[in-house]
């Protein structure tokens, strides 16, 4: 049997990874899932046989760690398109919408850290239940990187211009 966290796992992974790295990212997740599964399958009977019910205390502690990890490190990905997500956490730049043009604003170091990950981008498409079309047409008419668009970290020499 191959159980995993259920409702969110792949929803979250698809949102977490941008297009170019998506399959690699999910494959990498699979690797750790399989390793974790392999490991517990062998450890569980040893624990149950030797320390009986006390083996469950190990999981209580681990679940406590999960709570802390999720609280501090899991980013919010709710209510954005895959493209918006690609930029918000790509470490490239973040997409912000101005009145009549889309602009790729500069990334600050802060944006790569915690604050970016939990930060809500002020886009019209904030909730999946209320898709509003006007900003999409704006996007279509003027989808160019802003002149101040900062290059990716690992291409310091390249500057994108409009």
């Amino acid at each position: 049997m191959w159980h995993r966290y259920n409702a969110l796992t792949y929803t979250y992974l698809v949102e977490l990874w941008p297009f170019t790295e998506r399959s690699r990212g999910i494959a990498y997740f699979q690797l750790w899932g399989r390793l974790g599964n392999f490991f517990t399958t062998f450890i569980n009977p040893i624990g149950l046989d030797n320390i009986k019910w006390r083996w469950l205390i190990f999981y209580c502690c681990w679940l406590g760690f999960e709570v802390v990890f999720i609280y501090f490190l899991f980013p919010e990905t709710y209510g954005r398109t895959l493209e918006e997500l690609a930029f918000s956490e790509y470490g490239l730049s973040c997409v912000a919408i101005s009145t009549n043009n889309i602009q790729f604003s500069r990334t600050s170091k802060r944006l790569n850290g915690l604050s970016l990950l939990s930060r809500r981008l002020e886009l019209a498409w904030t909730t999946t239940r209320r898709v509003s079309l006007p900003w999409l047409s704006i996007l279509e008419s003027g989808c160019r990187p802003h002149p101040n668009y900062e290059c990716p970290n690992h291409h310091p020499s390249r500057r994108t211009t409009t």
Partner: protein, 270 residues
């Protein structure tokens, strides 16, 4: 050997569903993808339950042969699947991608503003992504954003398997024996009950993903798992201590069973 193909299928299928789905429904679709596992699990359990009673070698041959059926269905239907519009765009096949989006996101409306805007957004994003990508596994570690994703994927991989779920899925029989349930048919009944219960709770959770934020759902999941495990540990201790003292504690035994069932919805939220 049997397990070789599955990760490939999972990676490709989850990406395709996510990239093809209509934005509003995408989270529900990718969530239901994982939930459908339980349909397979229940079917398999039912088939094995039925073939158990066959006296000859066909008791194990029948389920083994039937395992080929889902793969055959997949092989024959995969040719009819639409391609991911994002993949097509990454290969500069914009026209085809546009057609797919018109068909699946706009009900065939060729003038759909929504689809044109989607095209623009996908094109500009993928173009910039490809420019930044070196198309190698090292990309995963190239920027701090990427390393962050690697850390999160590692954590997700471990969390999905180390949250105590393997204890229930592989060692349910052992656990039930520890609290005094020794009959094999009872254990089988609990097992089937758990599968059906998982299907119901996971499907419900999948339909709720558009209503709650991801962090809210993950925190609810981890916190309720922690509560369930603490309750379960206490009931387990009570049962086994009184068992060792020579009398049976029915109350805490039922408590253990309750927490095993309560574990499923908690786990399935995340």
């Amino acid at each position: 050997m049997l397990g070789f193909g599955i990760p490939t299928c999972i990676v490709a299928a989850s990406s395709l569903i996510g990239e093809l789905g209509y934005p509003k429904e995408r989270p529900i679709l990718t969530s239901l993808f994982n939930v459908s596992y339980f349909i397979g699990e229940l079917t398999a359990a039912g088939i094995c339950f039925g073939t158990n009673s066959i006296a000859s070698n066909w008791a194990w041959r029948t389920p083994s042969i039937l395992q080929a059926v889902p793969s055959l269905v997949q092989i024959s239907l995969v040719l009819f699947l639409p391609e991911s519009p994002r993949w097509l765009i990454s290969k500069d096949r914009h026209e085809e991608a546009h057609e797919i989006l018109i068909k699946y996101h706009a009900e065939g409306d060729r003038d759909s503003e929504f689809v044109r805007a989607e095209m623009a957004q996908i094109r500009s994003t993928i173009q910039m992504e490809i420019e930044a990508s070196k198309k190698s596994w090292l990309d995963l570690f190239s920027t701090s954003g990427m390393r962050r994703r690697v850390l999160l994927s590692t954590a997700l991989g471990l969390f999905t398997q180390w949250s105590g779920n393997t204890l229930i899925s592989y060692y349910l029989g052992k656990l039930l024996k520890m609290i005094g349930w020794k009959k094999a048919t009872d254990i089988q009944k609990v097992n089937v009950g758990l599968s059906a219960w998982s299907l119901i709770t996971a499907a419900t959770a999948a339909l709720l993903v558009t209503r709650f934020r991801r962090r809210v759902m993950y925190m609810t999941c981890a916190l309720s798992l922690l509560c369930v495990y603490i309750g379960w540990t206490i009931c387990m201790e009570r049962t086994m201590t009184s068992d060792a003292a020579g009398h049976i504690n029915h109350g805490s035994g039922i408590g253990v069973l309750f927490f095993i069932f309560a574990y499923k919805p908690a786990y399935n939220i995340g």
